[in-house]
Amino acid sequence: MESPALIEIKNLKTHFFLDEGTVQAVNGVDFSIHQHKTLCVVGESGCGKSVTARSILQIVDQPGRIVEGEILFHRPSRSDNGSETTETIDLAALNPRGREIRAIRGQDISMIFQEPMTSLSPIHTVGNQVTEAIKLHTDMLDDEAKEHSIELLRRVGIPRPEERFDTYPFELSGGMRQRVMIAMALSCNPALLIADEPTTAVDVTTQAQILELLEELQDEFGMAIMLITHDLGVVAEMADDVVVMYLGQVAERGDVDSIFHDPKHPYTQSLLKSIPRLGVSRNRQRLDSIRGMVPDPYNRPTGCMFGPRCDHFMPGRCDAINPPAIPLGPGREVHCLLYEEE
């Protein structure tokens, strides 16, 4: 059964206005995130996946800003009689410095980042940084907030959390820091946790532990997860739904099984071909790679963004028409003229 949507992104455009020109980092993106589910956003670096995530929280760095589109957040609120109601807020329309978006950040939607080294302040204690969001969004007293934080630290697998509470981030290992980040993000029971490549900067064993922890925590806390990654292995392991992005646009989206077993977009197909498989072929084969390079962001191709690198390129059509979304089933779409119905 399809669970109700938590976030619906409609035609989102986030552009960066630099001296050298405008970079259309996110250029017309549609997808939704469902309650209690994990959505993975995949794509090469620079395809706009991080900017999309940051647009949701309205924390896009200067000189970037959302220029068009809607981000509808169906905020679950627990009313007094226990029934769940939702109110709908368009996050894209909120003032990035305003009170409304600040109340959502860290409380309803929280985020963890790629670099656990630099994402924590070097001169504030772990405890100080974890309790901060709690004190900001709840009316817990200092003691309660501390107790709650220690409990969270224990829950994310930090040994001897009472002692760790007063240490500084530089005294912890990379994996431990990422756990602190997770504890911090979960401190107010968010409805959505955005994880921006949370395992890129840690080693492989730690990576597996962190992902496992995220899955456990999702079962326990029931939040939706938006996981941004370029690692298809992570996608296969974690995702319920997948969005494949290329140069600021969605190439294809759908549930994880259809994306992996029946990829439609030539880009998705080549991505899947470019991962090494264990034991599939005996004889040594060269890995497929996608020919060409991601184009210069100042100098985007006309028509289909993937056109210049596509094996199924149709001259006269692919370089003229930017393919619209072509529905293939519930929650399944592809942006490719090959699937256009005549």
Binding site: R102, G106, Q114, E115, T118, S119, S121, I123, E132, Y168
Partner: protein, 328 residues
Amino acid sequence: MFQFLLRRLLYMIPTLIAISIVAFVIIQLPPGDFLTTMVASMAAQGEDVDQTALQALKDQYGLGQPVHIQYLKWMQGIILRGDFGDSFGWNKAVSDLVWSRLALTFVLSLASLLFVWVVAFPIGIYSAVKQYSVGDYVATFFGFLGLAIPNFLLALILMYIAFRYFNQSVGGLFSPEYQEAPWTWGKVADLFAHLWVPVVIIGTAGTASLIRIMRANLLDELRKPYVVTARAKGLPEWRLLFKYPVRVALNPFVSTVGWVLPTLVSGAAIVSIVLSLPTTGPLLIRALQQQDMYLAASFIMLLSILTVIGTLVSDLLLAWLDPRIRME
């Protein structure tokens, strides 16, 4: 923390010894020794030279003995008796001359340091947060100007303007009625009423460079991911700014004392000469012109020690502010 303090104090010892050696070298640099100069000038004035007194002085300073003995004798006098030697220009013990002037130099340098900080800190933050705004450009412009004007020139210009257009004298640290008066609260108040002119002049260059440093540091910190983390928690922009990036940028700012203080003490010396303030500057230059070397060297030595102690204090402050240094 205590260990840190102890280690820093130990580090200071070789520095202090090096300073005393440099000061001693300065005493030795001019050709001949000061007794010869003294005898010559006394003879020129037709005074009788008391041979026994001369011999006593020779013994006291170890003149005629190897240089290192002379150095040790000088140091011995300073450490055991607080005796820096005699100023023949004033016919007084150096220690009678230096302390009051050094105290005023200390007050002046400290006041300049505070001025530099208090002005540079907010302007630096503003310049970084509002990068490329009109205010930022104005601050940058005055920053460059402040660095380019030698502070003695600024003192001269200010004196000229005060004289020409307000018919006032901006020199000195005290009003005439307090000049020779003993210390009272009135005199202290009078001192502070006069202090701001030299403080502003001495502080200009330091303020200019500290604004640039604060701006650059804060711009670096503003781009760090932990700022985004804090923003993603829902902190208001201003609270976030002061709790994280400003706080982190404060550390390198504090550590600049190490070189700001020497430039301020330097600046104080030259500005004091122009404005004829009763600090070390005017006395130092007079001593140098008259080759009154014990006085001059003592001044140079004490000013350097003052600076080194100031740097030590800033190191301790920094360790208190920054856990990474404290736990090293």
